[in-house]
Symmetry: C2
Subunit: 224 residues, 2 copies
């Protein structure tokens, strides 16, 4: 078809979760050059016989032991020199998962907390309390991940992906606040969510909470 060589195509997946009201992303420690011992997103090359979405799913499974999560394509990074070894185009994905499903027994895998410097363009990834060196352009990718999640939250119900099946309104609000990086008005949040039609009362309540127990809701699967 053409005399040109083809670039390599990789998928990199930002698997995002929330731990203690903090946003975190699963990262893998590199054990070879370049960027040896730095942290990168789970990724891999796309095979000729699998779609991009399938490749992203496979990467999640192989590198992080995760299956069946919310995942969507984010952006494709294609600067010429983003990998110094060869030309690599990276199709990136965002995935959301509850913290309890993040397998911590995987080697060289860690949760990196995403910290926003005050009004700064950059963000820091904190692994085990220390600011982590990030390989390639993966810090840019995580930056875009946060932007995407914030933008999406206003009109797509993605908060449920980060909560157990049954949850209270306050838990949902905390998830939104963690993603947005700011506090929300409780009354307004409550009204908006209940009016959205996305919530379904389970009829159950919390227990053992030391105060009036909140009603538990689940995500209303809008199977019309």
């Amino acid at each position: 078809m053409s005399g040109h060589r083809n670039p390599a195509v990789a998928v990199d997946v930002a698997l995002v979760t929330i731990v203690d009201d903090r946003l975190a992303v699963v990262m893998v420690r590199r054990n070879q050059d370049p960027h040896r011992s730095q942290w990168q997103l789970p990724g891999g090359f796309v095979r000729l016989d699998e779609s991009l979405d399938d490749a992203a799913g496979r990467v999640l499974r192989e590198k992080a032991g995760i299956n069946d999560v919310y995942i969507e394509q984010l952006y494709t990074f294609g600067a010429v020199d983003r990998d110094q070894r060869e030309r690599v185009i990276s199709v990136t994905y965002v995935a959301l998962v509850t913290a309890d499903r993040v397998a911590d027994e995987f080697p060289d895998v860690a949760l990196a907390f995403i910290e926003h410097a005050e009004h700064a363009a950059t963000l820091a990834l904190i692994v085990e309390g220390k600011s982590a060196a990030v390989a390639f352009d993966h810090a840019d990718i995580v930056g875009l991940v946060v932007k995407r999640l914030r933008g999406k939250l206003a009109y797509v119900p993605i908060g449920y992906e980060l909560l157990p099946e049954r949850f209270t309104l306050l838990q949902l609000q905390r998830v939104h606040e963690t993603i947005l990086g700011r506090t929300l008005n409780k009354d307004s949040f409550r009204r908006t969510m209940l009016a959205s039609g996305d919530l379904e009362p389970t009829g159950e309540r919390q227990s053992d909470v030391g105060h009036r127990p909140a009603a538990l809701y689940r995500y209303a699967t809008t199977s019309l």
Copy 2:
């Protein structure tokens, strides 16, 4: 690095404009199989020494004679069988341009009007009055283009890209209505736009319009 072969990577660009209050996209007629004589978006393979963004700009220049327009990445299509000849991953872009800048002297290039079937998931591309056959998955791409533009319009001032340098509020409203596919409230649109800070009065007015002439505005380059 790996024993795998690499897929081909193409960029396809949806160059969108508005003619007579109708949304249109530039398409190129194929003169070889597969899909011979069907219409496709201007596209080309990514060279190893150019970024994705550069490749998109080059495609616009070479295939449609267009330079210096608003352009942004849309989505990357990667189904295994989207091109029956070989594995091709397509990084797609949306570009916006005023109708007068669309070069009509290019061979095999035509403006395809985008028509929305009532509440249908699909859309039709009309070339010279007839519904056009679209090659590959490019109809899906155009469908996503419309979705993206609609979503973006609410919070990013992209309407200006489809208007001459000086324009009236009603012209801007028509652009928004054309993209959204519905009428907008005039009073509210006017207030919202003037309050946005994106508009700068030129002090000039229309002439030869057969009615009270409207004030002409320009896009306020927010050079803080």
